[in-house]
Symmetry: C2
Subunit: 342 residues, 2 copies
Amino acid sequence: MAPEVISQKPSTPRVAIAIAPRELELFFQGPTGGPKRLRDLLLGARIFDPSSPRTDWNEWLRSEPPEILVTAWSTPLIPVDLPGLRYVCHVCGSVRRTVPRALIEHGVLVSNWGDNASEGLAEAALLLALSALRRSHYFANLMHRLRKWTSIPVGTKTLYRRSVGIHGFGRAARKLVKLLAPFHVRISAYSERVPSQFFLDAGVEQCASLDELFSRSEVLFEMEALTPATELVVTERLLRLLPPDAAFVNVARGALVDEIAATRLAAEGKIRLALDVYAKEPLSEDSPLRDLPEVTLFPHIGSPTDDRLYQCGDFALANLGRYLRREPLMAVVSLDVYDRST
Amino acid sequence: MAPEVISQKPSTPRVAIAIAPRELELFFQGPTGGPKRLRDLLLGARIFDPSSPRTDWNEWLRSEPPEILVTAWSTPLIPVDLPGLRYVCHVCGSVRRTVPRALIEHGVLVSNWGDNASEGLAEAALLLALSALRRSHYFANLMHRLRKWTSIPVGTKTLYRRSVGIHGFGRAARKLVKLLAPFHVRISAYSERVPSQFFLDAGVEQCASLDELFSRSEVLFEMEALTPATELVVTERLLRLLPPDAAFVNVARGALVDEIAATRLAAEGKIRLALDVYAKEPLSEDSPLRDLPEVTLFPHIGSPTDDRLYQCGDFALANLGRYLRREPLMAVVSLDVYDRST
């Protein structure tokens, strides 16, 4: 990809960046010249720091309404009635907390990091599954906090040759299938929204129902998109269909799952739980999950690892260049994508 | 593999089993009919329980010296001068703590679990590497003990497209190469004892020296056999050749590595450490490693997972059958293997 030079000549549109300095650094301080390209972009751009409470967001936006708005995790919700806004370039994945659906309905273009998160998410899913099977966080507690050792049996299980299920079959799930291949697992999957051809192409068996998927999966990866139709779709009844001592890994969204039921099953020793996401985030200090040393808990770090965030920054810069050159954008968040997104 | 029926007719040799009940259960209670086959074997066999202090090991052995001795982790050292001993069927891997070298020199046959550990070890190595890169045990501490959350940057790195090194190139290392393939890593390896053809066959670049291997590896897997030549071969100088923030994973033997230096480098934030093995095991209660929440620590659980130990039991039973039928044994521990083993 050739570096984009984006200068704020009088004829070019007004750009506003509403990203905290910490995020700007993470996304644009990469090895591919991000800082210089960002400076070029910033030349005429106004910057809003969402991490500083000094400025009022709505006032700042309306004082000089931008045509292009660059956003990230920290950006507050954009008002629906902002005049002149044409393009929201979201450097991250989920746009729901930043972009109201009405903006897209009104024709504002929105793009996000597209496929840049899927490898990191697939990798996190594999790590969580192996951790649950090998009792990684139990042993962390044993070795670090209790300062002890263990003796046989150690309660460990292998991923090799297991029967694996994936709920949801987006880009990250398809990357995960590739990571699982050398373990000689049998993979089934289920997602209402995904055409059968996707499962066929990936060499994965498509289940007829969630019941079938959960019943046969010794390791179940929760990777479905959160929509009104999938909210709390993973009920206690479904979790109890899992084979005894199955591993349940959630890297998608906490609201897909009855978290209280999952916690209860883990406490009963029925399932091995490994979670990156929670019903409410940050996870509350007194969540009973924190009291279960067997449960592997990550603080929602399943997205791209820090060392790859600059790729998302590069991707956003490339999209901004495309917009200015009136070329088609990549990773456009259409109404359809918006409704299926997490 | 057809089930072996081993009965203790008067003409068959004396069998003694010196394995704790806990281990007998783990190795012989599998889904493949182990218990029945074990009962057949046990029909005339004497059993010594190393976990019970009531009987004296040497006295018990000499009172009715066996021709065949079945051993496992808990079995004490066999005396060198036991008359009539012809075959030690070791259900586990490492024989050094059970079988004195002199026994093999004197012509006693020894077998172990052969290739049955390599998948579990490769899997543990991958898990430890991903854990170090994703800060798994740091987050275990954060989520469980400190009851906190995190904010960006989260300090995570991906394994995708990294430059990976493997020190040692036995069976487990070759399995690991297969698990690493979908991460599109560049793999180099070094082992003095391994013919170049092995590296070529695995599609791995052979380094000319340990210095070269460590200098280029962002993730270094320690998988070398412990011998007098490799003891403490991983010095502080070598560890400091690793690129900044490299991950160093040891699933081989603690005595290969200057543990104090490795601990110091981890404390300095120079390397990400993930260990399954230690200079002294069990790891002492006051080891400074236990005070470093960033370090991933497992209590030597890298061998076959519990759910696969029955395969080692089956393998031992098959070998016992072969011995009784005067067929060649599998996984014989020759003097050469003994000297290279951990």
